[in-house]
């Protein structure tokens, strides 16, 4: 970072990477709703619907805050993802991916959840707290297979640097072909990570009064909406970087991430909801088993 050039480049990346992530995330949200609609034989929302939603939520009259931590919770939930996407390389922009690597990124992804948990906690509504207790349990469920997958991948590439992994894949072969089992387990964990059906009990979007969102109004809800779009983006880019060789150019990159995110979105409407403990059970059984076998192959 010695030269002025690289500093200005980094500053540009700091600005563009989150913005890009946000915009792509919005498109993914739209895609999610469209898929849902098509599966249910509906037309679905118009293209700008996610933007309308955010604007609507932000400009609501009723904006109830239960205190500073409630606000900060939303700030952390969004800000954590903003920071995380800077650790995720996209074509032409590496951000600071070389400073952290995959382990750091995995832990970064827990920060937004913790922020949201703190925010919900201050709402003084037991329904919210119950939701958080479920959310953290769910995190325990999907993070164990996820972390095994991360371990296997890092062991395979002998590196924790995402940039290094992408370079390796582009030079050799995609990770999914070298580690199919780990890739499958990763996809499974991804489903849980995104908090969508069938593992969406902790968000409980359908019963808003009895989930973590119970006291979220106006821009608090809007913040979470923004967070959701980041969530889609991060999950898909991370998976692409680990298994699909990242993107050599933007076209390839976009194709891959939308393809990746499309899979869990399609699955999500095919199954009914799992209870929390059932989710833990299934997550600790199948993906963990797959991932461990995958690691055995890697070693």
């Amino acid at each position: 970072m010695a030269s002025f050039n690289s500093i200005s480049e980094l500053l540009a990346q700091l600005l563009f990477m989150p913005m890009l992530a946000f915009l792509l995330g919005l498109v993914m949200v739209l895609m999610y709703r469209k898929i849902a609609a098509r599966l249910q034989r509906r037309i679905g929302p118009p293209f700008f619907q996610p933007v309308y939603d955010i604007v609507k939520l932000y400009s609501k009259d009723t904006q109830i805050s239960h205190g500073l931590i409630h606000d900060i919770g939303i700030v952390v939930a969004v800000g954590g993802y903003v920071a995380a996407v800077i650790l995720l390389p996209v074509p032409g922009m590496d951000g600071i991916a070389d400073k952290g690597g995959i382990i750091t990124l995995s832990y970064f992804l827990m920060i937004p959840s913790l922020g949201m948990a703190l925010g919900v906690g201050q709402c003084a509504n037991p329904n919210g707290s119950i939701g958080i207790s479920r959310a953290l349990t769910a995190m325990l469920a999907y993070d164990i297979p996820f972390i095994i997958v991360v371990f296997g991948v890092a062991l395979h590439y002998q590196s924790t640097s995402l940039v290094g992994m992408i370079d390796y894949q582009q030079a050799h072969q995609w990770g999914i072909f070298e580690m199919p089992l780990l890739a499958a387990a990763g996809l499974f964990a991804l489903q849980g990570m995104m908090g969508k059906h069938p593992f969406e009990i902790y968000v409980a979007p359908a019963e808003i009064a009895t989930g973590p969102m119970v006291e979220m109004s106006g821009k608090f809800m809007g913040g979470l909406f923004v967070m959701q779009s980041f969530q889609f983006y991060v999950a898909s880019v991370l998976y692409t970087s680990l298994f699909l060789g990242g993107g050599a150019n933007w076209f390839e990159f976009l194709l891959k991430i939308f393809f990746v995110v499309e899979i869990p979105m399609s699955i999500s409407f095919l199954f009914p909801r799992y209870r929390t403990e059932d989710m833990v059970r299934i997550m600790w059984k199948w993906p963990v088993m797959l991932a461990l076998i995958g690691i055995a192959f890697v070693i």
Partner: protein
């Protein structure tokens, strides 16, 4: 006279003065000065932390043909600076309002005794850390045990007293294992000097090494509360008066780690442990120890998850965190062992801060029971902030220092290619995240109780050490290189390859860590998040906590609207059955066995026919002498 002599003289002087004047008011200020002076002397020795020469005490003792000597090397200094700093923070914590209230509740003498206990703990640990041979190590070891016992016995509660008794039995068992190991060393080498053992260990047979390592390790593991000796520690530490818990929680159990470093790594040698294969398995001795560490990260952490008292929850985590340190040390590579050592420092900072926040909560509300707390964030925001900082450290999330050391442990497991150990460590971390959220939620978040409406922020004398610790956590998290200097020197002294690092973190070709960047980016992200939240959209309106969704009901102060009991009901539904208390049952079985044997012996002593017994014994003896045994 070396600086180490000055340290010992200061210790002796401090103990004497405190012992004589412990009933006098204002002694607490003197104690703070004492710890500060001690810290100053340690800083005078800080050359040790940057690769300096070993400092010897000019005092030595000749007994039983052994020379007892005391010295400080980089490892001792590293542990000593944490010890004395923890002592200083505890002393500051108890020097103000907390001390006054403790005096009112008990008496001047009781408060003085608490001060004495703290001082004895610090002093005995320094003696232990300075030990230069096995015998002085054992003496220091015993002194530490008794000093901790004194501290634990200060709480008059029944539970605390039982815990103290349990502790002393465990500690004694550990000391006896240590003593046996020492005796075997003497039997083999004819000496108790470190150098002799280091020399002799190269020539020992595998069986001897296993026996020695097992005995030594048992002794040290009990102090550290490693599996399967983890039962005593949490209750004993938790029930100690707050400043005692701060100190014991932060550093006391790490004396076990220090002894493991000295004996198992420096003297017997990790390479040696690695060569010894356990029969009928793929494992060697080092793997076994690493697994002890891994299991220690998991089991106590999940016991912590079930606790319903903040102090107990924290103390159980203290036991669990010890597992990371051992795991790191047992990875054998420079990164992992550095991570294990760094974790000692990091853990001390956040564990001390956490016990202080709970101490402050108890000071204000009188309880640490999760069922009787909640919503205190509006009343004690700074304490809450310190707790959030510390739990981020404890859970090992960026940007606090706990993340750095855990990262190093994970990274080294990756380098070694140890998937199962890695997963075990991660399971431990995830459990920690769950349980620290429970901690912060059930004390500071949720609904504020009516009786706590008038609770105020903790007084300044409690806040200052907490805030300073939080600052240390943050700064050393952002710039771990500050502490890694010391760690690298300690590694050199241990005979390991020091880790390569810079101010911001670890330098590694295949993916390093730079915390300065990561912290900056995180704050950048939070800044963006704040802009999105605060600058855009309408103004949020603050509402009262009773102005809340309750399915159509109106909330009043009479309705308790709070979720804290059985916090992870769903998870417990699944894993609840795994808490079988097997170790507890094992412990009870041993007690029952002793009880049975004791009863049998008593029956013997009560026998109505003593003369018959004499004759039987004579016959038996004659039989045995005449070759019956052989």
């Amino acid at each position: 006279m070396s600086v180490l002599d000055e340290v010992f003289i200061l210790c002796a002087l401090g103990a004497l003065v405190l012992f004589v004047f412990h009933r006098i008011r204002g002694i607490e200020k003197l104690a703070v000065v004492f710890y500060a002076a001690l810290l100053y002397l340690l800083i005078k020795m800080s050359g040790l932390g940057y690769g300096g020469e070993v400092i010897y005490s000019s005092f030595s003792l000749n007994i039983l043909g052994e020379t007892l000597q005391w010295r400080f090397d980089a490892v001792s200094w590293f542990f000593a600076i944490i010890t004395v700093a923890s002592g200083l923070f505890s002393a500051v914590f108890m020097s103000g309002k907390w001390g006054e209230s403790y005096r009112e509740k008990t008496s001047n003498a009781a408060y003085g005794t608490l001060q004495i206990a703290l001082l004895l703990n610090v002093n005995s640990m320094l003696i232990l850390l300075a030990s230069g041979d096995l015998l002085s190590l054992f003496i220091g070891w015993e002194l530490v045990s008794w000093a901790s016992f004194m501290m634990m016995a200060l709480n008059p509660d029944k539970q605390a007293r039982q815990a103290a008794i349990k502790y002393i039995v465990y500690a004694m068992a550990g000391a006896m294992a240590f003593l046996a190991a020492m005796a075997y060393v003497y039997g083999i080498t004819g000496s108790l000097q470190y150098a002799e053992l280091a020399q002799a260990s190269a020539a020992l047979s595998n069986g001897q090494i296993i026996l020695l390592s097992l005995l030594f390790f048992t002794g040290f593991a009990i102090k550290m509360g490693l599996i399967p000796f983890h039962l005593w520690q949490a209750v004993a530490y938790a029930e100690t008066p707050a400043p005692g818990a701060v100190f014991l929680g932060a550093i006391s159990a790490r004396m076990g780690l220090y002894a493991i470093i000295v004996v198992l790594i420096q003297l017997i040698g990790l390479g040696h442990l690695q060569q010894i294969h356990i029969p009928f398995t793929f494992w060697n001795l080092q793997t076994v120890l690493a697994w002890v560490g891994a299991l220690t990260t998991i089991i106590p952490t999940y016991i912590a998850l079930k606790q319903n008292d903040a102090r107990h929850l924290l103390a159980w985590h203290g036991v669990g965190q010890g597992g990371y340190m051992l795991l790191g040390l047992m990875t054998l590579n420079s990164l992992g062992s550095a991570g294990g050592l760094l974790h000692v420092f990091n853990y001390a900072t956040y564990q001390a801060a956490l016990f202080m926040t709970i101490g402050a909560v108890i000071y204000r509300t009188g309880t640490a029971n999760f069922d009787k707390l909640g919503g205190l964030v509006t009343q004690m925001p700074l304490t809450f902030m310190v707790m959030v900082f510390s739990i981020i450290g404890l859970a090992g999330l960026p940007p606090m220092n706990g993340f750095v050391s855990k990262w190093m442990v994970y990274r080294s497991l990756l380098l070694d290619g140890e998937p199962l150990l890695f997963v075990a460590a991660v399971i431990g971390t995830l459990g920690t995240i769950l349980s620290v959220y429970k901690l912060v939620h059930n004390t500071f978040l949720g609904q504020l109780r009516v009786e706590h409406q008038n609770v105020r922020e903790a007084p300044l004398s409690l806040l200052i050490p907490m805030l300073v610790l939080a600052a240390i956590m943050f700064v050393t998290g952002m710039m771990p290189g500050l502490v890694l200097d010391w760690v690298a020197s300690a590694q050199l002294a241990m005979g390991l390859v020091p880790v390569t690092y810079n101010l911001g973190g670890i330098v590694l070709a295949s993916g390093g860590l730079d915390m300065i960047w990561i912290t900056l980016i995180l704050f950048y992200g939070l800044g963006v998040g704040a802009i999105i939240f605060y600058l855009l959209g309408g103004r949020a309106k603050r509402v009262h906590q009773y102005d809340n969704y309750a399915g159509g009901h109106f909330l009043t102060s009479r309705v308790r609207y709070h979720y804290s009991h059985n916090f992870y009901a769903g998870l417990m539904h699944l894993i609840g059955g795994w808490y079988r208390g097997s170790f507890k049952k094992l412990e009870q079985a041993i007690v029952s066995l002793v009880s049975l044997l004791s009863q049998l012996s008593e029956n013997m002593y009560r026998s109505a026919q003593p003369a018959m017994m004499v004759i039987i014994v004579v016959v038996l003896s004659l039989w045995s002498i005449s070759g019956g045994i052989n």
